[in-house]
């Protein structure tokens, strides 16, 4: 099965919170992506009937949101905020240094499949720049050295 019984059960339990199952779609997409690394066309096909949608609609939703992807990516999502407050605090130089450190540019995944690097529109940590999000965790008030330590510790 493209989506395991256990995941499917969790999805259906979540859907019960909404007047229409489709309210649970974003939660399901987060879940599938966490479990399988991406929401592939096969996942979309499996999800569509649960939400009374077409598979193409599922992928169209995926394509709208920055946190969702239909393409497999690295094990860890690293996002550096580069909006104005962070830029004023040197976030763009910071991002370039991280790029140099990882040997990839934003939008790319490291050769070992460990890290996909990107920049973010604003993460709501404007007073603590530079900062980055690693998966679900925020690292704030960073400098290049402390960021390297965080990144190097990732499996």
């Amino acid at each position: 099965m493209v989506i395991s019984k256990a995941i499917r059960d969790q999805i259906e339990a979540e859907n019960a919170n909404y007047p229409r199952a489709r309210g649970g779609l974003l939660a399901a997409l987060h879940r599938v992506q966490r479990e399988y690394g991406a929401i592939t066309p096969e996942h979309a096909t499996a999800l569509a009937p649960i939400f009374d949608m077409t598979a193409v609609e599922v992928l169209a939703v995926v394509s709208f949101y920055d946190m969702l992807s239909s393409q497999p990516a690295g094990r860890h999502q690293v996002r550096v905020c580069t909006n104005l407050s962070c830029s004023l605090a040197g976030a763009r130089e910071f991002l370039r240094e991280i790029e140099n450190h990882l040997g990839i540019t934003r939008g790319e995944t490291s050769a070992d499949g460990r890290i996909t690097l990107g920049h973010e529109a604003c993460l709501g940590a404007c007073a603590n720049a530079p900062m980055m999000r690693v998966d679900d965790r925020y690292y704030e008030d960073l400098d290049t050295e402390s960021a390297r330590q965080v990144l190097d510790a990732l499996d």
């Binding site: 066309p41 077409t54 598979a55 193409v56 609609e57 992928l59 169209a60 394509s63 709208f64």
Partner: protein, 547 residues
């Protein structure tokens, strides 16, 4: 202040003023819809629009249909502003003109300037509106967005992403009309594109309607691609002959040939849609198996070409001989559900005047759906029944019993409808006179073969599945040797010296006789028929005996 247009029904009627003219219209869901209902939109009331379409849900995103309404601040989109009594609307004010210019400038920013090679050129709403409302020059110095220029969405439709203005009519169409939902918008912002699910094609029975819906050249017909330029086409009103729905169409003609069918709006029949099979059926007009000359079987039992006049004389000689020898009861006729009401009425009268009651009708059947496609794969089976042709099965029994020695057959539906596996049974009949548009194996048993005009080549009326009588006009000039079934049987009747057939075939006169003689057709004549058709009078009288 003049009343420019109005509606007859008094329920929920409101008055509004648009550019100083007063309109009485239904309190519709939106200004555009209400103006569309009374038929003035894009006529005397010019409110340009892209995303709005009369038969699709409202979207509101293209922002082109903005108008000024007294008492409201800023501009309002006519596509989602409900009509209210007393509303005073301005569509040409300075603010409106400026807003349109701006919207068009935005949409033109990344639109390629490939009009010279674009199939849509000449019927492109971006071209039209930019010309009419746009600024003369683009102020942009930025390079245009590069995207895929040719994506084969499916068997019928090609997508050029650079030309797309993201009105999403195609997306809404697929979701709302065939309910197949193949298309979606992917991405966000200026990265938004129309697309399909990987590995899936845009391949539903109505897919090519998105080509008509697309206001620009983003979606083009693979069939029509690069065949003709829009300004070379002459469009003639017609009706599709592919099934009993009788979808209203435009026959677009260039270089003496029909280049394509396009749906023509008729809210009582097909809204603004037609199926792909019907759309592509224009190809049968010029197909290589078209009958274009008359044939007579010679003494060596071989068909040889003759003039139409000779063929009709030979047919008359055969029929007259049989009637004289064995009586009218050995003569029979098989009607075609593809022929017009007038053709069939002439044919019915021929058989009546010969004095035979042996007639039948064979209607090919196929797949049907809940939208437009009917099981009866012919345009006029309902008309044929109303005029008095009944199912051909009992006639075939009579033929099997050897009771028929001469037969006049219109078309070869008796084979395609599956009533006969092949022509063997008809081979038992001495005199088979075949009148048809296309070649078929019936020619093997025919003594006389007469070529007939296609629906695209003649005038007349057809009766659709809902008993609506609709008019067709000749889109193509036919060869003088190519006559309608009606005229052929008329000449045959003259050659037989039958009563009531005046010299010279006159279609309006036949139509008037039909209206007078067959009760369901009372009051319906070709000359008085409105462009959107008229309903047959009563529901019951399928038999419609000729008075």
């Amino acid at each position: 202040m003049a009343t420019a247009a109005g509606v007859a029904c008094e329920a929920e009627i409101v008055r509004i003023t648009v550019d100083g003219l007063e309109y009485r219209l239904h309190a519709g869901p939106s200004l555009l819809a209400a103006l569309d209902q009374i038929g003035v939109l894009m006529g005397e009331v010019d409110i340009p629009h892209y995303c709005w379409h009369a038969k699709l849900s409202s979207d509101g995103s293209c922002r082109l249909c903005q108008v000024e309404i007294d008492g409201q601040t800023g501009l309002q989109t006519a596509c989602n502003t409900p009509v209210r009594d007393g509303m005073i609307v301005h569509t040409r004010s300075e603010a409106v003109v400026r807003a349109r210019q701006t919207v068009l400038e935005f949409l033109m920013l990344n639109h390629p300037l490939d009009c010279p090679v674009c199939d849509q050129a000449g019927e492109c709403k971006l071209q039209d509106y930019a010309w009419r409302y746009g600024a003369p020059n683009s102020r942009s110095r930025e390079p245009r967005r590069k995207l895929e220029k040719r994506i084969d969405l499916g068997p019928g439709v090609v997508l050029d992403r650079e030309r797309c203005i993201l009105c999403r009519r195609c997306v809404r169409f697929c979701r709302e009309i065939p309910r197949t939902g193949e298309l979606a918008v992917f991405g966000r912002g200026d990265r938004s594109v129309i697309g399909l699910f990987p590995g899936v094609q845009l391949d539903n029975a109505y897919s090519m309607n998105v080509v008509d819906l697309c206001p620009v050249g983003a979606l083009t017909s693979r069939d029509f691609r690069c065949k003709a330029r829009a300004w070379q086409l002459e469009s003639v009103e017609g009706v599709c002959g592919g099934c009993a729905r009788g979808c209203n169409i435009w026959l677009d003609v260039a270089k003496g040939e029909v280049q394509r069918y396009r749906p023509r709006r008729n809210d009582a029949v097909n809204d603004t849609w037609m199926c792909d099979a019907g759309r592509l059926s224009y190809a049968e007009i010029a197909r290589s198996d078209r009958l274009d000359k008359a044939w007579i079987r010679n003494q060596e039992s071989v068909l040889e070409p003759v003039s139409v006049a000779s063929a009709i004389s030979e047919a008359a000689r055969m029929l007259a001989g049989l009637v004289a020898e064995k009586g009218a009861g050995v003569i029979a006729g098989i009607a075609s559900p593809h022929a017009t009401n007038e053709d069939l009425f002439a044919f019915k009268r021929l058989l009546d005047e010969i004095g035979t009651e042996n007639s039948g009708l064979a209607v090919p059947h196929g797949e049907a759906d809940e939208l437009l496609i009917c099981a009866e794969k012919a345009a006029n089976a309902t008309g044929a029944r109303a005029i008095g042709f009944e199912d051909a099965r009992s006639l075939l029994e009579r033929i099997r019993g050897g009771g028929v020695d001469g037969i006049v057959i219109l078309g070869h539906d008796i084979l395609t409808a599956g009533y006969l596996d092949d022509e063997t049974l008809l081979g038992k009949i001495d005199s088979v006179i075949l009148i048809d548009t296309h070649q078929s194996s019936l020619m093997r048993v025919a003594q006389v073969v007469l070529p007939a005009r296609h629906l695209a080549e003649k005038a007349g009326t057809l009766t659709n599945c809902d008993r609506r009588v609709q008019r067709v006009r000749p889109a193509l000039a036919a060869d003088s040797e190519l006559l309608t079934e009606g005229e052929i049987v008329h000449r045959l009747a003259l050659a037989l010296g039958l009563n009531g057939f005046e010299a010279g075939y006159d279609l309006p006169r036949v139509s008037r006789s039909l209206a007078a003689a067959v009760p369901p057709f009372a009051g319906i004549t070709i000359e008085s028929l409105p462009s959107d058709g008229a309903q047959l009078v009563s529901d019951g009288g399928e038999k419609g005996a000729v008075r």
